[in-house]
């Protein structure tokens, strides 16, 4: 009995610890529950790039990161999945228009020199060798007329090239191409040595800012194509979450009433065990950093179902043992022992399934498998330890004086005595026939 009391306090401590963890650690919600977007990109080979290397993927990832998260403050994550794919997750923002543009722009800046005919007219433009790679920094500024311009400062090499270019073509126009389009064709008035230039197009401030971000982030090392995109508005996310909460509470309340109605006092104990179970499971979710998604919630609900099932199995078995005339203590023990193989085998097969699904499944299935596996593991603990402990503490070791506590009738037990050849004494010592 002393052990039982110690165990009781361990359970209470664990419960309090779980409440503390749940209270102090943030819940990580998936994009489908808080809104946000998710994009899968694949690097594409071109005529010049025949194979995508890991270096290219790293460079692509770094460039994209600078583009969509120029200040590095938002919670955007980019991670590589498989050899050529990147997964971008943007929380709470479900407007993909701006993001799509940032991802697909090539951001190629190029200064082109004119090829002139005999009269000094421009026949065509040709690459000057000065590109976005020579850029140190781009920023938004205004010109004398107060219009928005993009100011460029070149690095040392770029400044040298720019000086060379402006010296060679003094008095002629040069062209600034951005993403294959002419942005402006300024006339070179003099040689420019400081490595400073500006592009004056018909910019709005937003457009100038967006292009500056692109220029600062640099060109993509390889082109990338969007394979999949998924955006959920925060409105829908919050709606799904709230409705899941309501549904969860209503469902749980009904289940608890049902269990009490059917199993009486043990049912009440099972309900307390169920609450402890939910608390511990949620605490484990938070500690292990599980991101909760709709599929994850499904996994959790299923595990609640299985946790209730473990209790039901045990109680049905205990009832049978009581009917066979055992004392409370042996009946409870026998109920647990005999139900345990069922619980163990069925839960093991569930965990095997979860492991396979976790390693092979898509993202959405992974979340499901993880929450279910955690839930099932905790449910074995809660059914075996928590329920059993509470049952023993509650009922002690004597004869069952009030069968109604278990939802049994007096006659059930008496009939069992008559039917059973097993002696009362034998049953008392928990000998199983």
């Amino acid at each position: 009995m002393k052990n039982k009391v110690i165990m009781f306090w361990i359970i209470i401590a664990l419960t309090l610890l779980s409440i503390f963890v749940i209270h102090s650690m943030p819940t990580r919600l998936g994009l489908d529950l808080k809104g946000g977007s998710r994009i899968v990109l694949e690097a594409q080979t071109t005529e010049t790039i025949s194979k995508i290397t890991q270096d290219m993927m790293d460079a692509l990832k770094a460039t994209l990161d600078r583009r969509i998260n120029p200040q590095g403050i938002s919670e955007i994550t980019i991670q590589q999945i498989e050899d050529k794919r990147l997964l971008i997750e943007i929380p709470t923002d479900s407007d993909l228009k701006e993001v799509r543009r940032k991802l697909s722009e090539i951001a190629e800046l190029e200064f082109k020199k004119p090829i002139l005919d005999d009269n000094g007219n421009v026949v065509r433009w040709e690459s000057s060798g000065l590109t976005g790679k020579d850029l140190e920094k781009a920023s938004v500024g205004t010109d004398e007329a107060g219009k928005w311009v993009i100011q460029l400062s070149f690095n040392a090499q770029g400044a040298r090239k720019f000086a060379q270019l402006t010296k060679e073509f003094r008095g002629y126009p040069i062209a600034i191409y951005f993403n294959g389009e002419v942005m402006s064709e300024p006339l070179v008035k003099q040689e420019i040595i400081g490595g400073q230039a500006q592009i004056s197009g018909d910019y709005t401030h937003e457009r100038a800012k967006a292009d500056v971000d692109l220029l600062n982030a640099g060109a993509l090392p390889v082109p990338a194509k969007i394979l999949e995109e998924n955006a959920v508005s925060p409105t829908l996310g919050v709606d799904s979450l709230n409705k899941s909460y309501i549904a969860g509470f209503v469902g749980l309340a009904f289940v608890m009433l049902f269990v009490i109605f059917w199993y009486r006092v043990p049912g009440f104990i099972a309900d307390i065990a169920l609450i402890i179970y939910s608390l511990i499971t949620f605490a484990v979710f938070k500690i292990t950093g599980v991101t909760l998604t709709l599929a994850g919630i499904a996994g959790f609900i299923l595990s609640v179902g299985m946790a209730v099932d473990a209790n039901i199995l045990i109680f049905e078995r205990t009832k049978e043992e009581l009917k066979a005339g055992r004392t409370l203590f042996t009946a409870i023990n026998a109920g647990f022992d005999r139900a345990f193989t069922s619980i163990f085998d069925s839960n093991m097969s569930t965990i095997i399934t979860c492991v396979i699904l976790y390693f092979l499944g898509s993202n959405i299935v992974k979340g499901f498998a993880l929450t279910l596996a955690i839930g099932v593991a905790v449910s074995m603990f809660s059914a075996i330890t928590v329920t059993k402990n509470f049952m023993h503490l509650m009922f002690g070791t004597g004869q069952l004086k009030h069968p109604a506590l278990f939802g049994l009738r007096e006659s059930d037990i008496n009939q069992a005595y008559e039917a059973a050849e097993t002696k009362r004494e034998k049953a008392k010592f928990g000998v199983l026939d």
Partner: protein, 328 residues
């Protein structure tokens, strides 16, 4: 009189009426199987169910609207979208939930179209423009575009995962029980999957319901639950067989085991169905089909563990004994 499994109060005689149960199984499965065959012949994808964009590639864009849209207006929207060069749009209005607070989303207008490789964003913006011209309050709540390559890959991967999970269960049950039990459990599982898929095939034909990644997740849940349920009954058969094999026939042991676990089987399913029922009536609009799969699957899973899996084990045992007797 000795205390024996034979004394168990029989509520259902699963052995005596086994052909009745097998017939009921057939009646339950047949419409779905017919629907799946019909679908395989008539759908351009040649799939037994109407597959959604997750697996075929395509785009879905969903708008929250605050009043219901009649079927006439849906037809109107379709015409307008087609006039706007949107290829073959599929339009659905999702019904609201029982909860009706000010903040919650009422109706969802869902539009599915193909995945445009080149100008995906322009396509979606064009659709939004057309919708907003008629329903200015419509707010985009969800967009989902999947390229065809990724869709097929996801589908193949999901199938591999399901098959491996089944193999894992067979191996485990063979080790812990017996190969016959493992096979019966898997057949019961296939029975449940066929039923759920059949219903969704019918829903696909008559209500245009498509299956997506969430459907696969729900099916996996059913798979887990069904095996769980079957194992509990099998565990009882194994235990009873150990103690009473000498003075009771195998059929009687199976019969008694099913009846002993009957209360548990039904109670467990009921508690899970209560939770799922709450999710169905109070949960989000977008997860209704998902929950429906689980409700159907768990109900049929209980049926199959009581009437199908154990009857099958008894039948095989009878056949094996008859064979043995024939040899002697």
């Amino acid at each position: 009189m000795s205390y024996s499994v034979l004394n168990t109060k029989k509520i259902i005689d699963v052995i005596k009426y086994r052909w009745l149960w097998f017939s009921i199984t057939l009646i339950l499965l047949l419409p779905g199987i017919i629907a799946m065959i019909y679908s395989m012949i008539h759908y351009p994808t040649h799939s037994p169910l109407r597959v959604g964009i997750d697996f075929t590639g395509g785009s879905i864009i969903q708008y929250a609207v605050d009043h219901n849209i009649s079927s006439e207006n849906v037809a109107n929207i379709r015409t307008k979208l087609m006039d706007g060069d949107i290829e073959n749009p599929v339009i659905q209005v999702l019904k609201p939930s029982a909860t009706d607070s000010e903040t919650s989303i009422k109706y969802i207008l869902s539009i599915k179209t193909k995945f445009a490789e080149e100008n995906q964003s322009e396509e979606l913006e064009k659709i939004t423009k057309i919708i907003k011209s008629d329903y200015p309050e419509a707010e985009v709540v969800q967009t989902n575009s999947v390229g065809p390559v990724l869709g097929q890959q996801l589908f193949v991967n999901s199938m591999i995962a399901v098959v491996l999970a089944l193999l894992g269960i067979i191996v485990y049950l063979t080790i812990r029980f017996h190969f016959e039990f493992a096979l019966a459990a898997i057949l019961a599982l296939c029975h449940d999957l066929l039923f759920v898929m059949g219903i969704f095939s019918i829903l696909g034909l008559f209500a245009g319901v498509q299956i997506d990644s969430l459907f696969v997740t729900a099916v996996l849940t059913v798979l887990g639950f069904s095996v769980h349920d079957t194992i509990v009954v099998f565990d009882r058969i194994r235990e009873n067989n150990k103690f009473y094999a000498k003075n009771a026939s195998y059929d009687d042991i199976v019969n008694a085991s099913v009846n002993q676990t009957l209360a548990r089987s039904i109670n467990t399913s009921l508690t899970t169905l209560i939770t799922l029922g709450a999710l169905y009536f109070f949960g989000g609009v977008t997860t209704k089909d998902f929950v429906l799969v689980m409700i159907l699957g768990i109900a049929i899973g209980t049926y199959s563990s009581i009437f199908f899996a154990s009857t099958l084990v008894a039948l095989w045992n009878d056949m094996a004994e008859a064979k043995k007797a024939g040899k002697n």
